[in-house]
């Protein structure tokens, strides 16, 4: 019988670059910035790392292919390195590779690195990309906001919301994330905004306005993972363990079968259910202290609250407006500012989310530190990525918690 990943692998150290329009930095600079922080955090030498995974998505305008850009930038000691790419779940996929390798006993210390240099594209928004030789011939040349905006019209229709009401809840999501980011020096966007500003900002893709969209930023984040035994040997006291790492990938139903109504992500509930089971979480609404979800657009975060089982179906707009996911709400969401304020350097995002959960669990989140349900700090944090578009995607859900929890 499978035993799952729970408590088999711990995080020895993490690093995260400052996110933003890092005009003076290339992907190598960003990786070094995150890596140096993680090495110091883990109190290990570079040559103790035995294997490494690199997550990067847009290799064309960025690093180029393969894991070599990481191996070369960090001058890793000719260890096995692997590049992974799984759309917006790429960063989490790098973590998964490293964690599984340690859990398998293939190595004791592994590195998961995610990086994306988006601002060498030459324009705002994400770079253009091919969908493959066949699909380019019939699928629309959609943008990310356009593909995610679909959720809003379908959601409003399914639950009978007027677009005006739905947009108010969506606006609150952006306001909340900007508020959180004012407490985070590594965030790209650190300004406060109002719901009115969101509603009156420039239309991007109906019904999304520019302030419903996450920023476009450069960044890198990484994790050094190891076994609990090695962590003890390294003298680490409070240790964050991986409680669950789950993926669910579309198989074409959303794009091609009439059973999907377009108002939710089909994969997220599946990944979440597996992750809760793997982590031994019976009631996520009562047990998860904080969440970092894939808020590429405000409407995405709104439907994800239901897809993750944290709001009742059709009730997310009410919960959002009631402040349930605010900093002082029951389940703070995007306490670091989220994709909204960090932007979405794709390869880095999943690891950036894990970095915030890691800091919060260890009580190292500074002025944005949460007290958690117990009052003594959070015990469980969840990260979620949605790689792709609602029509087809890879949902990842990971749960981190203190080793003792």
């Amino acid at each position: 019988m499978k035993s799952g990943i729970k408590d088999k692998v711990v995080i020895a150290g993490m690093g995260c670059s400052r996110f933003g329009e890092r005009w003076d930095c290339g992907p190598d600079d960003l990786m070094v910035e995150a890596f140096n922080e993680a090495l110091l955090d883990a109190c290990i030498e570079r040559d103790q790392i035995e294997a490494a995974w690199l997550g990067v998505f847009f290799d064309e305008q960025n690093t180029g292919k393969s894991s070599l850009p990481m191996s070369i930038a960090l001058r890793l000691p000719n260890i096995p390195t692997t590049r992974v790419e799984n759309l917006c779940a790429t960063g989490t996929e790098a973590l998964r590779g490293a964690v599984y390798a340690v859990a398998a006993g293939a190595c004791e210390i592994a590195l998961a690195m995610g990086v994306e240099k988006l601002k060498d594209t030459g324009f705002g928004g994400l770079p253009e990309r091919t969908k493959g030789t066949f699909e380019d011939l019939y699928l629309p040349t959609s943008t990310a906001p356009g593909a995610f905006a679909q959720l809003a019209s379908a959601y409003a229709e399914r639950y009978g919301y007027s677009m005006k009401d739905l947009k108010r809840a969506m606006a609150h999501i952006s306001v909340k994330s900007h508020e959180n980011a004012t407490r985070n020096a590594k965030a790209h966007l650190r300004n406060r905004i109002t719901e009115q500003q969101v509603l009156e900002s420039m239309p991007i893709s109906y019904p999304l306005n520019v302030l419903d969209c996450c920023g476009v930023s450069d960044g890198a984040a990484c994790a050094i993972v190891t076994t609990p035994e090695v962590a003890r040997r390294l003298g680490l006291r409070d240790v964050v363990a991986v409680k669950a790492l789950q993926l669910a990938a579309s198989n074409g139903v959303e794009m091609g079968h009439q059973s999907w109504d377009g108002s939710h992500t089909l994969t997220t509930p599946l990944a979440a259910k597996r992750a809760y089971a793997e982590a031994g979480i019976q009631n996520p609404r009562e047990q998860i202290d904080l969440i970092e979800v894939h808020d590429c657009f405000s409407i995405t975060e709104l439907v994800l609250m239901e897809d993750l089982g944290l709001s009742d179906m059709g009730r997310s707009p009410h919960d959002v407006l009631d402040g349930r996911y605010d900093r002082d709400g029951a389940i703070p969401c995007q306490i670091d500012g989220g994709l909204k304020c960090f932007g979405h350097p794709i390869g880095a995002t999943g690891l950036r989310m894990a970095y915030e959960i890691y800091l919060q669990l260890l009580g190292r989140a500074g002025e944005r530190q949460l007290r958690g349900r117990s009052g003594n700090g959070p015990a469980f944090g969840l990260t979620h990525n949605l790689g792709g578009i609602p029509n087809r995607n890879i949902a990842s859900v990971s749960i981190l918690g203190l080793l003792a929890a």
Binding site: G122, F123, G125, E128, T133, F134, D136, L137, Y138, L139, P140, T141, S142, T143, P145, G146, A147, A149, Q150, L151, A152, S153, A154, A156, E157, P203, I204, S205, Y206, L208, N251, G252, V253, E254, M255, G256, H257, Q258, S259, W260, D261, G262, S263, N391
Partner: protein
């Protein structure tokens, strides 16, 4: 001459966008002063994603599914002087989009404004089999030119075959006469027509060749001129009036609405006017139709009982207009204005032609699959059924979705994506028989689309590979 062939059906496509001639005059009469006097009515202008080929497909589909698919088609003629490809068989592509069998004979006709009527005569004189004739033109006109005011984009299709009960009209006599008279011309590769003086054309060419040929045709048919009830003369109304008098058919009905509301649609114009006559004719009435271009074609038709139940597709198409308020946007759509659409428009649109050929039925005819195990319809056809309850391998038969009813499940109006006519509108569409596809929408103004709206599907330009000079097509959703 004995009756050989009949017109069994017709279809018309006039692009939805109509540019008011007043709008053109307001923009350009500073350079073309006579435009002010001619500023009546509208001209049809194709949307950015329409060309002679897509318009031909739409007119052919309007011909009606029953004759197209019920009776085997032997041939398909595509007539145009503005076909997108000079060397790639446009007719074969039209046939492919219509899902016609590969065995259907295809022929491209062009090179003269007579191509539509010449094709019609050829089809009418074929003694066996049904022929689908499609005439379509979208001629680009120079800004400020007289042609800018008079031309229009449109297509017409006719299903022609051996005389049979229920047909619309039967040919009684026809002649084709050549004459190297250059009323206007366009050399290969040129963007615009070069037109000569109208009075010279009228007096030296039209008033000489048409009455003579008409008299011969009427004589061939032993039909007196006064029996002609409908006459089709594809010239300006004033010239048509003079010609009708010269042919002794001045009491016959002459259409002016096609020119007033749509404009001179090139090779399609006489066929659109014949469609007008078919919509007005009573059984047994004679229709005399002329085609003009380096000679003349004259066709004498006799209306049959089928005209009583004719589809009135021209009337429908003329009425289905939406005013294009922007002359500047029209210029951009026709490639007459070099607009900066930003870096997103630089996207490389290279086609993997091996893929396009392998998937030609999917891409040209909009063919999906229907699972023989569970009945699920899906697009595109795939090896393994998409139904999560089925997922059987190699159980799908081709299932064409082009004529299905669609329903909007979700949509967006995307102002960030590159679009020749922003916003770029797309969404999830569910087919009535099942299946879902994320599709582009066309001919829908911003703010007009809603979830659950019914949509139908049209064959349109998907994008253009400017680096390699190649145009790609696919199906889009539009309002029913």
């Amino acid at each position: 001459m004995t009756a050989l062939g009949s017109i069994h059906g017709y279809g018309v496509h006039i692009p939805r966008l109509r540019l008011s001639r007043e709008v053109i005059a307001a923009a350009m009469s500073w350079a073309n002063a006579p435009a002010r006097g001619a500023a009546r009515g509208t001209r049809a202008v194709g949307n950015w994603d329409e060309d002679a080929l897509t318009m031909a497909v739409e007119a052919a589909r309007r011909c009606g599914a029953t004759p197209l698919h019920g009776k085997p088609l032997q041939a398909m003629f595509f007539c145009s002087t503005t076909a997108p490809f000079v060397d790639r068989d446009d007719a074969v592509l039209v046939a492919s989009a219509l899902d016609l069998p590969d065995s259907v004979e295809t022929l491209n006709l062009g090179a003269s404004m007579r191509a539509g009527t010449s094709g019609l005569i050829t089809a009418l004189l074929r003694t066996t089999g049904n022929t689908l004739l499609v005439a379509s033109d979208a001629r680009t006109t120079r800004s400020g030119s007289p042609q800018e005011m008079t031309y229009g984009d449109a297509s017409a299709a006719m299903l022609v075959g051996p005389a049979a009960a229920g047909s619309l009209a039967t040919v009684v006599a026809a002649r084709r006469v050549g004459s190297d008279f250059v009323d206007h011309y366009r050399m290969s590769g040129a963007d615009f027509d070069y037109a000569l003086e109208e009075r010279w054309i009228r007096d030296e060419f039209l008033l000489k060749i048409i009455p003579t040929t008409v008299a011969q045709v009427l004589s061939d048919a032993r039909v007196p001129a006064e029996s002609v009830r409908h006459v089709v003369i594809p010239t300006s109304p004033a010239t048509a009036k003079r010609l009708a008098q010269a042919c002794d058919v001045s009491t016959a009905r002459r259409d002016e609405r096609v020119l007033t509301q749509c404009g001179d649609a090139g090779v399609a114009l006489p066929l659109l006017m014949i469609a007008d006559a078919l919509e007005a004719a009573e059984p047994e009435e004679f229709i005399l139709a002329v085609g003009i271009g380096q000679g003349v074609d004259v066709i004498l038709l006799k209306a049959e009982t089928g005209v009583c139940s004719a589809s009135k597709d021209l009337t429908r198409a003329l009425a289905a207009g939406h005013e294009e308020p922007s002359y500047v946007r029209y210029l951009a759509h026709r490639g007459l204005l070099d607009v900066d659409f930003g870096m997103r428009a630089e996207r490389d649109q290279r086609t993997a032609h091996s893929v396009a050929f392998r998937k030609r039925s999917v891409l040209n005819a909009f063919t999906g699959g229907r699972c023989r195990n569970c009945g699920t319809v899906q697009f595109p056809q795939s090896r393994v059924c998409v139904n999560p309850e089925c997922r059987q391998t190699d159980t799908q038969s081709p299932h064409r979705l082009a004529d299905s009813q669609g329903r909007v499940k979700s949509f967006t109006e995307d102002w960030q994506a590159y679009a020749a006519r922003p916003p770029y509108v797309y969404g999830n569409v569910e087919f009535a028989e099942g299946g879902n596809l994320l599709m582009e929408f066309t001919d829908i103004e911003p703010g007009r689309i809603k979830v659950n709206d019914a949509v139908r599907f049209v064959y349109r330009i998907k994008d253009e590979d400017r680096a390699r000079g190649f145009r790609r097509y696919f199906w889009k959703a539009t309002a029913t």
